[in-house]
């Protein structure tokens, strides 16, 4: 037994040795002064990489821009970006490394709800400032007052969709949602029917990885809805809905309002309505600077996930300016707690949901030939 254990050790020696080296720093520093270290964990691979990758681009652009403009009170920032592969346990492990080994001042991310809830368990007791890309999730997050949220809670998403449905005078609504993200939004939406004066004509759920749901779409069509809400992280329901000639207007949540999804939807994308944030083809005045910078950097238009990455860094930088680079965790966290005009929307991080988005934060777009066009509609009365 001892011998075998020794053999295991020999086989492992290289691994063990290598693992003692610190993680490579992923970001370059440009200024000479000791940079302020920030951590970011996003999903660059795995199921929700479609959200994580644009967030990373926004973060990198913000870092570059901020440092070029003199950083935080003359001190540059350095963001260590890690990939959690869309998995909560990997996220926990990466955050542990960033917080305890690299001593980051604050954490940006994570991309998904599950990951955010998971890593909140590490940051909350330390009162470490965390700016999550997910909306406010389960009850436990209400007590985590240093975990701020850049995107709306699921209930707010649901309300944004239902407002539009109500105001287009539709009362019979069909729903197609997946069993992951779609289920989460649906759970917050289903009990709001009465409040918005709608009835569910047919609700169909499908697996996240499903490649064909024409039958589900046909079932929704058979219920003769006046509007259809699609909540999914896959382009398939949109394509299938069009294939079975589902002619009722399709309204969808901001998660699918990206160019990648639109491309994957093919010609089925036309006329889909999104309750979203950044319509780069026709930006609001406070969004223009970011859109121009992004377009110059990447040669294409950004969506709100890129903007969310940018806003996370910039709002954090503002708090750092106020609290000072050596502020204690709690001081930085309370410096965060105030209104902030971001690119995506106007936030109020002192709100009870640690994000302060409202129905007024939403912009509504309609897809026309693969482009998002602004609708003249606002959910706020």
């Amino acid at each position: 037994m001892a011998l075998q254990a020794c053999r295991s050790l020999i086989a492992l020696a290289p691994t063990a040795l290598l693992s003692l080296y610190p993680l490579p720093a992923l970001a370059q520093t440009t200024a000479s002064r000791e940079p302020i270290k920030l951590g970011a964990v996003i999903s660059a691979t795995g199921a929700i990489a479609g959200v994580g990758l644009p967030e990373r681009e926004g973060i990198l652009l913000a870092q570059k821009t901020l440092n070029a403009r003199g950083g935080v009170n003359g001190q540059p920032i350095e963001i260590l970006i890690e990939d959690d592969a869309s998995s909560p346990d990997v996220a926990v492990s990466k955050v542990n490394a960033l917080v305890h080994s690299h001593k980051v001042k604050a954490l940006i991310g994570t991309s998904g709800i599950a990951q955010t809830v998971a890593v909140g368990g590490i940051t909350a007791p330390l009162k470490l400032t965390q700016i999550a890309f997910s909306g406010l999730g389960p009850a436990v997050e209400r007590e985590r007052t240093c975990v701020f949220h850049i995107t709306p809670s699921q209930e707010l998403n649901a309300r944004a969709l239902l407002s539009y449905v109500r105001d287009m005078k539709a009362s019979k609504v069909g729903v197609l949602h997946d069993s992951g993200y779609g289920q989460v939004v649906w759970n917050s939406m289903k009990d709001l029917a009465g409040e918005f004066g709608v009835t569910w004509s047919q609700v169909e759920k499908f697996e996240i990885a499903a490649t064909d749901l024409t039958t589900q779409a046909a079932k929704v069509r058979a219920s003769a809805p006046e509007a259809v809400i699609v909540i999914s992280t896959s382009p398939m329901p949109f394509r299938n809905a069009r294939q079975v000639r589902l002619t009722a207007p399709i309204i969808s949540v901001h998660g699918t309002a990206t160019y990648d999804y639109v491309k994957a939807m093919g010609d089925a994308a036309d006329n889909i309505i999104h309750a979203e944030f950044l319509i780069a083809e026709d930006p609001l005045p406070h969004q223009r600077e970011f859109v121009d910078l992004f377009q110059k950097e990447h040669g294409r238009l950004p969506k709100h996930f890129e903007a969310a990455g940018w806003d996370a860094v910039m709002s954090l930088a503002q708090a750092l300016k106020t609290a000072g680079p050596d502020a204690a965790n709690e001081a930085l966290c309370s410096a965060m707690r105030r209104p902030y005009q971001g690119v995506m929307a106007k936030f109020d991080f002192s709100a009870p949901d640690m994000g302060g988005l409202t129905l007024a934060s939403f912009n509504y777009s309609k897809l026309v030939k693969g482009k998002f066009t602004r609708l003249d509609y606002s959910a706020a009365k």
């Binding site: 759920k205 499908f206 490649t211 039958t215 046909a218 058979a222 079975v244 994957a264």
Partner: protein, 295 residues
């Protein structure tokens, strides 16, 4: 429950069934020729489709040529994998589980490679013929689905003739069933195995290229395709390519009809549970007996 809904379920079931069938046929061909279950058959489809996508758009080649390139890349992938990995392991007389682990490892690697090279986006190919749908009883079938079904049938008939009527086909069968005996009869067993992988890769790539106009392909769809294809092949009986078609269509119909009656979240549970039960109860599949006599 309306007639049009049932009709729609049937049409989608058949379409999906032929997708599963094409993957299943590839699996059956490789199993027949090498006694290996190729857990990366779905990856061949992804490779074929992705090469076609990139030949068509950034490279700007005509569609026909792009398709040809896609098919060739699938075939090449098959041969390369055989030469690089399968043959050395055959020489070591590796066991069944080693080959399964190898092909799983390759599936993981290739999927990661596609992610690295092509990104995480989903890609659609244009339809083969004219875009559009056919309406039957207020239900819809995409014209591309007809291309898919037609090609699957041609592939099955072709394979049947190939294995039954040509010397090469017979030699490939012999090399697999009795390698030592075949070798003494002057058949180059190694070459036959390479050809089997070439054939498997080709069929896989064709499947991917046919599916891509219906379902957007992405780097991680290979494993799901493999599993459904395997279920189809098992249902029909692994020894018979025709079985894969029957198995695929049965599976597809069952899935889509189940959606009509049950909460649709359980679709995969039903399909997979059925696959397990069939393996236990009917080890030779629905066409097992026919398969054995007909070869």
């Amino acid at each position: 429950m309306s007639a049009s809904l049932v009709m729609q379920a049937i049409l989608s079931g058949i379409t999906n069934g032929f997708v599963y069938a094409l993957i299943g046929i590839g699996l059956a061909v490789i199993f027949k020729g090498t006694q290996i279950i190729n857990a990366m058959q779905g990856e061949f489809a992804v490779i074929g489709a992705m090469v076609t996508v990139f030949a068509l758009e950034p490279a700007g080649l005509p569609y026909g040529l792009s398709i040809l390139l896609g098919v060739i890349s699938g075939a090449a992938a098959g041969v390369i994998i055989d030469r690089l990995f399968v043959q050395p392991m055959m020489r070591q007389r590796a066991g069944e589980e080693s080959f399964l682990l190898l092909t799983i490892g390759l599936a993981v690697t290739l999927s990661a490679a596609v992610l690295y090279l092509a990104g995480r986006n989903s890609y659609l190919l244009p339809s083969w013929g004219e875009e559009g749908v056919i309406e039957i009883l207020d239900a819809f079938l995409q014209i591309q689905a007809l291309w898919l079904i037609g090609t699957a049938i041609i592939v099955v008939v072709g394979l049947r003739l190939f294995y039954g009527r040509t010397l090469l086909g017979l030699s490939m069968m012999a090399a697999s069933m009795d390698p030592d005996g075949a070798a003494t009869n002057g058949i180059n067993v190694r070459r036959m195995r390479s050809l089997t992988f070439l054939l498997g890769g080709t069929i896989g790539a064709i499947a991917g290229i046919l599916v891509a106009p219906l379902v957007a392909v992405n780097y991680h769809m290979g494993i799901a395709l493999t599993l459904k294809g395997f279920a189809a092949a098992i249902l029909g009986g692994l020894s018979n390519p025709l079985g894969a078609v029957l198995g695929g269509v049965t599976l597809g119909l069952l899935e889509s009809l189940a959606v009509v009656g049950f909460p649709s979240g359980y679709k995969d549970v039903i399909a997979l549970a059925m696959m397990i039960v069939i393996m236990i109860v009917m080890p030779n599949g629905l066409l097992g007996r026919v398969g054995r006599i007909g070869g």
